[in-house]
C-alpha cells in the first residue's frame, strides 16, 4: 500500500516545547521519521548588547538568559570578567556565591522534574516542585530583593552579605527538602507508568553524546563523567566534598535520576557551606584602575568601581551550570566595554543531540526525551 508521510509542525506555539521552539517533524503515522529543530524565535541579541554596555551593566542581561537559574549565569559572566581583569575575591564572597548557585541548582532541577512530569501528563509534581521552589525564592528575596533575576553577583564579590535570619531559614529548607526528596523518589520509582514512559526512551550513547557536544546532567545520564566542578575546579569547589552524579542507562529515566541525585548532592554541599562559611568582607577592596585606596573601606560593604577598564586580551571561562557547561568568551580592547562577548549556551549545544534520539520514536517520546534536555528559550536563542 502506498502511504504518505505527514509533515507536522510542532511549535512555535505548542504546550510542550517550553516556549517558542519549533520542531519540523516528518511523520509516518505516529512515528517520527525526521526531526528538524527551528530556533531563533526569542533572539534578543544578548551578545551584541554585551558589546554595547559596560562590564557591570551587562550583568542584569545575563539574568535573562536562563531565567530559571540566573545565579550561575551571573557567576559565569563575572568569573570571566574577574579572570580578564585579575580581580581577587574575598573568601566569604566565594562561599556565598557557591551557596546561591547550589541553591539555584536545586530550584532548577525542581522545575525540570515538574515540567518533565507535566509533559508526561502527571500534573502534581510541578505543583510540589513549585511549592519547594517558593521557599528558595523567598530566600533569594531576603538576599537581594529579587526572586528570579537577581543581579546579585558582581565583579569582586557579591552585592550584599547574607541577611539576618537567612541561615536558619536555609537550614529549614534543607531539612524540608530532605523529607520531600523521598516523596519525589517514590513518585518516580514507585510509578510503573512513569518507568514505562521513560526507560529505554531517547537513548543516546556516551560516544554520540560526546560527539554532539552535550554537557551537564543530560550527558552524565549517558555515563560520561564530565563535571566541570571536578575537572576544572573553580571557586571553593576543591574544598567541598561532593561527587558528580552519573548513570549509565543513557535514557530519559537516567537523565531524570541524575537530576534527583544532584539535588541530594547540592543539599550536601549547602550543609557543608553553612558549617564552614568564614566571616569577612563580601566585596574585594581592590580599587581597580583607580588611585590606590588610602583608608580601609567601611565594614563589610566595601567599594568596588562601577566602571573599570581591564587590559586588552581575551578570556574563556566556563562553569558547571545546572543545565550544563556555561561559558563566556570575552575579548577586551582596553576600553570600558567588551569588544566581543560570546556565550556558550548549554541548551543550544545539548539540543543538537535531540534529532538523533527521537527518530523512530513517537510524539509522546519526543516530548519525554525533549523534557530532560531542560532548555530555557531565553538561553537557547540568546
Amino acid at each position: 500500500m502506498e502511504t504518505e508521510t505527514l509533515l507536522l509542525n510542532m511549535g512555535p506555539v505548542h504546550p510542550s516545547t517550553h516556549g517558542v521552539l519549533r520542531f519540523k517533524l516528518r511523520m509516518d503515522g505516529e512515528i517520527i521519521r525526521d526531526c528538524q529543530i527551528v530556533m531563533g524565535y526569542l533572539h534578543r541579541g544578548t551578545e551584541k548588547l554585551g558589546e554595547m554596555n559596560t562590564y557591570i551593566q551587562f550583568i542584569p542581561y545575563t539574568d535573562r538568559l536562563d531565567y530559571i537559574s540566573a545565579m550561575p549565569n551571573n557567576y559565569a559572566y563575572v568569573k570571566a570578567v574577574e579572570e580578564l581583569a585579575g580581580i581577587e575575591v574575598p573568601q566569604r564572597a566565594e562561599y556565598i556565591r557557591v551557596l546561591v548557585m547550589e541553591l539555584n541548582r536545586i530550584v532548577n532541577h525542581l522545575v525540570l522534574m515538574g515540567s518533565l512530569l507535566l509533559d508526561l501528563g502527571a500534573s502534581t509534581m510541578i505543583m510540589w516542585g513549585f511549592r519547594e521552589r517558593e521557599t528558595a525564592l523567598q530566600l533569594y528575596e531576603m538576599l537581594c530583593g529579587a526572586r528570579m533575576t537577581f543581579n546579585y553577583i558582581k565583579p569582586g564579590g557579591v552585592r550584599e552579605d547574607l541577611p539576618e535570619g537567612f541561615i536558619p531559614k536555609l537550614n529549614e529548607f534543607i531539612k524540608d527538602m530532605e523529607k520531600r526528596i523521598v516523596d519525589y523518589d517514590e513518585l518516580v520509582n514507585g510509578n510503573e507508568i512513569f518507568l514505562m514512559r521513560t526507560k529505554n526512551i531517547g537513548v543516546i550513547s556516551a560516544e554520540e553524546a560526546i560527539n554532539c557536544g552535550m554537557t551537564g546532567p543530560s550527558m552524565r545520564g549517558s555515563g560520561v563523567d564530565y563535571d566541570i566542578r571536578k575537572l576544572e575546579p573553580y571557586s571553593i569547589y576543591p574544598d567541598l566534598d561532593f561527587k558528580a552524579c552519573m548513570r549509565r542507562e543513557c535514557d530519559t529515566y537516567a537523565r531524570y535520576m541524575v537530576r534527583l541525585d544532584e539535588i541530594r548532592e547540592s543539599l550536601h554541599i549547602l550543609k557543608q557551606i553553612i558549617d564552614t562559611i568564614p566571616a569577612g568582607k563580601t566585596v574585594s577592596s581592590q580599587r581597580y584602575g583607580m588611585a590606590p585606596n588610602t583608608g580601609e573601606p567601611s565594614a563589610v560593604r566595601s567599594y568596588f568601581p562601577r566602571i573599570f577598564t581591564p587590559p586588552p586580551g581575551e578570556v574563556y571561562s566556563r562553569i558547571e551550570a545546572p543545565k550544563g557547561e556555561l561559558g563566556f568568551y570575552i575579548a577586551s580592547d582596553g576600553t570600558t566595554k567588551p569588544y566581543r562577548v560570546k556565550i556558550r549556551s548549554h541548551a543550544f549545544c545539548n539540543l543538537v543531540a535531540l534529532p538523533k534520539m527521537v527518530v523512530g520514536l513517537k510524539i509522546p517520546d519526543l516530548v519525554a526525551a525533549f523534557g530532560t534536555f531542560d532548555i530555557v528559550l531565553g538561553d537557547l536563542d540568546r
Binding site: P15, G121, A122, T124, W128, R197
Partner: protein, 366 residues
C-alpha cells in the same frame, strides 16, 4: 406500591397526592390521553437532563478541588462559597466566546460532531437505575444497549477530528478510535461474566441479584464474586472515558488539545460537558454492575426511592473520586503501550475470567 420506572413513579406520586384523577379526566374529556403521557415522559426527561447537567457542573468543580487538595493548593475560591459557582462562570465565559469555524473545515460535520457526542452520552443514562424505580426505562438489553451506545461517541470524535482539517485533531481522533476498539472488547467481556451469573442483560435484574448478603455481612456485590472482572471493567471504563492515564484523544502535551483543538465557545463546552457526563455515566455503570447498584442497608422513615438514590450517589462519587485521584497522580501512558495492554493482557484476562465464571456457574457452586 411497586413501580417499575420513573414514569410510573410520577403517576403513583400524583395518585398519592390525589391530583392524577382530575388531570386525567380533563385530558380524557378532550380525548387526548396520549398528550398527558407525552407530558409526563417529557417531565421525566427534563428531570434527568437537569440532574445530569447539575451533576456535571458539580463534577467540574469537584475535579478542580480534588486536584487542588492533592497538589496542596486551594483551587477555585472566588466565585461563590468555596468557588462553587465556578462552573457557571465558566459556562457564561464559554457562551460569550466567538464561535469559530476554521475556513478549511467541513462546516456541517464540524458543527454536528459535538451534538452527536453530547446526545450519545446522554442516551447512556436511559437504562441506568439511579435508585429503586428511578430509571427511565428498564430495557431488557440494558447492558448491551449501554455498550453499543458508548461506541457511538468515538464516531463523533472521528468526525470532529477529520472535519477540523487539523493534523493534531486527526491524530487525536485516530488515537481515540484505536483506543475505543481495543477497550470496548474487554469491557464487554468483563460485563458478560456478570451476565452469566444474573442470566439477564437488564440493569435492574443485575442490581436485584446483588441485593442479599453472604454470611449476613458480605454484600452480594459482584466486586467480591468477580474481583478480576471488576479491575478489568474499571480500567476499560477509565479508558472508555478517556481520562488520564488513557486520555490519548486529548493529550494536551503532545497534540495541543487532540480532536477538539479547533473547537471554541459552546461547541467546546458541549465536548467538555459530554466528557464529564461520560465520567458520571461510566462510574454509574461500574457501581450498578459491580458495586451493588443502589443496594444498601434499609433506613427507616425514608422512602426506599430516596435512600437507594443516596446509596447510588455515594458509591458513584467514590468511583469518581478514585478516577480524579488517579488523574492527579499518574502520568499518561503511550498509545502503543495502551493498545498492548488492551489486546495482549486485558482481552486474554477477560476471556479467562469469563471462562472461570462459566465453570463456576455450571458447576453450581453459587
Amino acid at each position: 406500591m411497586m413501580t417499575a420506572n420513573a414514569y410510573e413513579l410520577i403517576i403513583s406520586i400524583l395518585k398519592a397526592l390525589n391530583i392524577f384523577e382530575p388531570i386525567n379526566n380533563i385530558f380524557q374529556k378532550l380525548g387526548m390521553e396520549y398528550v398527558l403521557k407525552i407530558i409526563i415522559v417529557l417531565v421525566v426527561i427534563a428531570i434527568l437532563l437537569v440532574f445530569v447537567l447539575l451533576t456535571v457542573m458539580f463534577l467540574t468543580w469537584l475535579e478542580r478541588k480534588v486536584f487542588a487538595v492533592v497538589q496542596s493548593r486551594y483551587g477555585p475560591m472566588v466565585t461563590g462559597p468555596r468557588g462553587l459557582l465556578q462552573p457557571i462562570a465558566d459556562g457564561i465565559k464559554l457562551l460569550g466566546k466567538e464561535d469559530i469555524i476554521p475556513a478549511t473545515a467541513d462546516r456541517w460535520i464540524f458543527t454536528l460532531a459535538p451534538f452527536i457526542v453530547f446526545v450519545s452520552v446522554f442516551l447512556v443514562f436511559i437504562p441506568l437505575p439511579f435508585g429503586k424505580s428511578l430509571i427511565i426505562s428498564d430495557l431488557k438489553v440494558g447492558l448491551l444497549y449501554i455498550i453499543a451506545i458508548s461506541a457511538v461517541a468515538p464516531i463523533s470524535i472521528l468526525l470532529a477530528g477529520w472535519a477540523s482539517n487539523n493534523k493534531y485533531s486527526l491524530l487525536g481522533a485516530i488515537r481515540a478510535v484505536a483506543q475505543d476498539i481495543s477497550y470496548t472488547i474487554p469491557l464487554a467481556l468483563a460485563a458478560i461474566a456478570v451476565v452469566v451469573f444474573v442470566g439477564s442483560l437488564s440493569m435492574v435484574d443485575i442490581v436485584n441479584y446483588q441485593g442479599g448478603y453472604w454470611f449476613e455481612i458480605i454484600p452480594k456485590w459482584f466486586i467480591f464474586l468477580q474481583p478480576l472482572g471488576f479491575i478489568l471493567f474499571l480500567i476499560a471504563g477509565i479508558a472508555e472515558m478517556g481520562r488520564i492515564p488513557f486520555d490519548f484523544q486529548e493529550s494536551e502535551q503532545e497534540l495541543v488539545a487532540g480532536f477538539f483543538t479547533e473547537y471554541s465557545g459552546m461547541k467546546f463546552a458541549l465536548f467538555f460537558l459530554a466528557e464529564y457526563a461520560h465520567l458520571f455515566a461510566v462510574s454509574g455503570i461500574i457501581v450498578t454492575v459491580f458495586l451493588g447498584g443502589w443496594n444498601g442497608p434499609v433506613l427507616p422513615f425514608l422512602p426506599i426511592q430516596l435512600t437507594s438514590l443516596i446509596y447510588f450517589l455515594i458509591k458513584t462519587y467514590a468511583v469518581i473520586f478514585f478516577t480524579m485521584w488517579l488523574r492527579a497522580t499518574v502520568p499518561r501512558m503511550r498509545i502503543d503501550q495502551l493498545l498492548n495492554l488492551g489486546w495482549k493482557i486485558m482481552i486474554p484476562m477477560a476471556l479467562l475470567n469469563l471462562l472461570v465464571a462459566a465453570f463456576v456457574m455450571t458447576a453450581g457452586v453459587i
